[in-house]
Subunit: 179 residues, 2 copies
Amino acid sequence: YPGTYGAPQPAANDPMWGYFTAIAGQDGEIDAEELQRCLTQSGFTGSYTPFSLETCRIMIAMLDRDFTGKMGFNEFKELFTALNGWKQNFMMFDQDRSGTVEPHEMSQAISSMGYRVSPQALNAIIKRYNKGGRIFFDDYVACCVKLRALTDNFRRRDTMHQGSVNFQYDDFILCTMAI
Amino acid sequence: YPGTYGAPQPAANDPMWGYFTAIAGQDGEIDAEELQRCLTQSGFTGSYTPFSLETCRIMIAMLDRDFTGKMGFNEFKELFTALNGWKQNFMMFDQDRSGTVEPHEMSQAISSMGYRVSPQALNAIIKRYNKGGRIFFDDYVACCVKLRALTDNFRRRDTMHQGSVNFQYDDFILCTMAI
Ligand SMILES: [Ca+2]
Ligand SMILES: [Ca+2]
Ligand SMILES: [Ca+2]
């Protein structure tokens, strides 16, 4: 997927449209349970453990700018672009296909995605997402989702590109509790 | 539990000490799996669904100020104080013991805990934590844990009590990704 925002195709001409409507069901949007079912049945995770419902919930939250709790078609396509990128990145480090990566590989993966974070922040992230000293694919994706959502929220408020944002308490809660 | 910070009792005289060491095992600290086992076997959740491993992980993260990923004795006691308070609050609203509360009851519960957040922020929180339009006990506790951890992080930086904090990007990531 190119992941560009050129002139959008009419949804009905998009090859993903049929797939999307089948998953979305009657209400025309995808919720966390439907997303989990879709990602499990499509074999997206391959030999890795399927995504937990919690990870699927935050995938939706990452793109849910209108706070509906569900995902529309364009958000669905955006998610697949991101997921494919994260999966490729993970598999690059998980050469033996054990389903896990080491902490230093997690740090490298985060840097390679373009995030500039201190060793202290990386350490806190790794402590939070590791299980028994290794990082599993589901937790790695959950981490990527949160990093992206929080960074997007921060950037949107850093209009002067200063690398800092003055947060009122309520806005801080709004943009950190929603993901 | 009184939840005060007076002169600490010697740990060995504390009735909770034997219980703590039994759960913590050889390394002397409690990790997420040990906490989940403890809360399930003690019957803390009563007729409610037991806590998920993810909720137990963030309970530890809430108090994990040295980023070890595990919980020591004082943190363990602090957690139980908080858990008992949250449980009482939830049961006050879940009169019929269905195991869930309604969105407006969730908003009331959050206000009654002393958090001053806008209707917009409350709406975002409810969208994030509801399942099928209701809020289950496990998700309610996960929400309380996050609210408390994020608010603590915010307050610690708001030294002038202005209700606003200027965050550098790295510090923002450090204090939002760790929970
Ligand atoms: Ca649907
Ligand atoms: Ca949406
Ligand atoms: Ca232990």
